[in-house]
């Protein structure tokens, strides 16, 4: 295959274009594969080549984009190959834990009752199970700052809505199967909304624009509607 032959390395490292390389670290959405992706990103950010423009981790792969006027597939590919060989030799890098306040149910979580019904649980238990977990940020995508978090308790893994909402209020916390996420901006969305955070999840003017980053650990805690209002001000 021509796509693979430009590099000496195997199928784990293939050119995605003349200015990007896709590194595959697994074939499933799981905490183990996520840990591997994290270790690879940790190695890479510690050994960056000047021409690398972006390191873009997703569930089980990393897309590395570079300036093709300053380097080429062979040079960047060789670096990635070297690092990939070490990926199972290093410790997992420490993760930041981020706590997110959420006002569950009511006007802020319009699908909570339906999720509870679908899962055969009282709404309070859906909240308890959502709050009990500690989740990993598998990646950010779909919209600026939108983090895909997993895995949530199987008992509350409600599927997405058949008809997506045309606009979801920013800060809304949704469930989609074994994943949960927070809508940073008012966008269309099909995840089932169980609550809302008063935090501004994405703000390009902040030094750290996104509250959540790839590899973070996330915990939710419940707040009252009154606390929600006061924290919005």
């Amino acid at each position: 295959m021509q796509a693979a032959s430009a590099l000496r390395t195997g199928l784990d490292i293939v050119p995605a274009s003349d200015h990007s390389i896709l590194v595959t670290l697994g074939h499933e959405i799981s905490p183990e594969v996520h840990a591997r992706v994290r270790r690879f990103c940790h190695l890479l950010t510690g050994n960056l080549h000047d021409a690398i423009l972006n390191v873009h981790p997703v569930y089980a792969s990393v897309l590395v984009t570079f300036e093709p006027r300053e380097s080429d597939l062979e040079e960047i590919g060789a670096l990635l190959d070297l690092l990939l060989r070490k990926v199972d030799e290093i410790e997992d890098p420490p993760a930041r834990t981020v706590e997110i306040p959420v006002c569950y149910g009511g006007e802020h979580g319009p699908d909570l009752a339906e999720v509870a019904r679908m899962c055969g649980l009282p709404p309070e238990e859906v909240i308890e199970r959502h709050v009990a977990g500690e989740y990993s940020v598998y990646f950010l995508g779909f919209a600026p700052g939108f983090a895909y978090l997993g895995n949530i308790d199987e008992r509350i893994a409600a599927p997405r809505r058949e008809v997506p909402r045309s606009e979801v209020p920013p800060g809304s916390v949704g469930i989609n199967g074994r994943q949960t996420g927070i809508y940073p901006l008012a966008t269309p969305g099909g995840w089932r909304l169980i609550g809302r955070t008063p935090l501004k999840i994405f703000d390009p003017q902040r030094e750290r624009p996104s509250v959540l980053a790839f590899g973070d650990r996330v915990k939710f805690y419940a707040i009252t509607p009154k606390e929600f209002e006061s924290r919005c001000r």
Binding site: M1, Q2, A3, A6, V14, P15, A16, S17, D18, H19, S20, L22, H27, E28, I29, L53, N54, V55, H56, P57, V58, Y59, A60, S61, V62, L63, T65, P68, R69, D72, L73, F139, L140, G141, F142, A143, P144, G145, F146, L185, F202, P204, Q205, P209, S210, A213, F214
Partner: protein, 310 residues
């Protein structure tokens, strides 16, 4: 501070620079000028660094009043520009006097025309770039396209800088010939049948009307998948040619989704990404397969051509 007053905005005019390439991990695609070649040449013509923010106009141009003398250039597609009613050419620096009006019209061919001004358009940076990202309302002037009545501040002169005096229009247009788009094979190229791959490169594709800065949708050709495996979501680069479940090819463009789960058959080579910015809805094109070595040589030739003019 001198300003440009927007009398008419044109169909879709935005402030652009070369984008914010390092933000994909936050879910933000690079954005930036759709035709970076014309964009860079425009800046070099007026003595700006290549990444200075300029105006990108789409299909039809705007009408702009200058309140101070300036040096401007129009590059990319010919939008039939007139300065106080007198036609002016593209690809050369033009002196504008205070009080003069620059009026652009409809394109004569090609989707985008760039207006570069000495000093650039002064807007606050968002995530390190002045580029407007329309889908997310980020950057540029309040994250949106220009409206009548907007006032654009001109930035300070960058001082002496590498510049070019003129660009040979025919040579530029050869680099921007959007009838041929060269690609390398993508990471899932082997997911497609040999027959459909062969037809992809033989048949004529048409640009759908719903194409924009996010994606270029193609009609007339179909990619037939051999495998129906569930694909895990992956990062996407600008220029990736994805196949939708019904086989329709879609090229991710400057405001693309950062991730996706459609298989990628091919990727447009870096030297031809500017051509995508000149594709007109309804226009037709052919894809041509090149090797990674060819892609590199073509890019090097393009850069050498630019260097030869400075």
């Amino acid at each position: 501070m001198p300003v440009i007053r927007v009398v008419e905005p044109g169909y879709q005019t935005t402030v652009q620079d070369l984008g914010r390439p390092g933000c994909a991990h936050m879910g933000v695609s690079a954005s930036g000028a759709a035709d970076t070649l014309s964009f860079r040449l425009g800046n070099l013509l007026v003595g700006n660094p290549e990444n200075t923010s300029s105006l990108e106009m789409t299909f039809t141009g705007g009408v702009f009043e200058f309140d101070a003398d300036n040096l401007v250039a129009l590059t990319g597609a010919d939008f039939q520009a007139k300065l106080d009613g007198t036609p002016i050419p593209c690809w050369v620096p033009i002196e504008v006097k205070a009080g003069q009006t620059l009026a652009l019209g409809r394109t004569r061919g090609g989707a985008r025309c760039y207006l570069s001004v000495h000093g650039g358009i002064d807007v606050p940076l968002a995530l390190g770039s002045a580029s407007t990202h329309l889908r997310t309302g980020l950057g540029g002037l309040e994250g949106r396209a220009l409206r009548a009545g907007d006032e654009l501040r001109i930035g300070p002169s960058p001082g002496p800088h590498r510049a070019i005096r003129q660009v040979h229009p025919q040579k530029a247009l050869r680099w921007l010939d959007a009838r041929i788009i060269r690609v390398t094979l993508g990471p899932q190229a082997h997911w497609f049948s040999a027959d459909s791959a062969e037809r992809f490169f033989r048949e004529t594709a048409n640009v759908s009307e719903d194409s924009d800065r996010m994606s270029i949708r193609l009609a007339g050709i179909r990619l037939r998948q051999l495998r129906r495996d569930e694909m895990l979501t992956e990062g996407i680069c600008c220029g990736a040619v994805q196949a939708l479940p019904d086989g329709q090819p879609v090229i991710s463009f400057v405001e693309h989704q950062t991730t996706g789960a459609y298989p990628k058959f091919a990727s447009v080579i870096t030297a031809d990404l500017p051509r995508l910015g000149q594709l007109m809805p309804g226009g037709s094109l052919h894809f041509e397969l090149v090797s990674f070595e060819d892609a590199r040589a073509i890019l090097r030739a393009q850069e050498e051509w630019i260097d030869s003019m400075t």
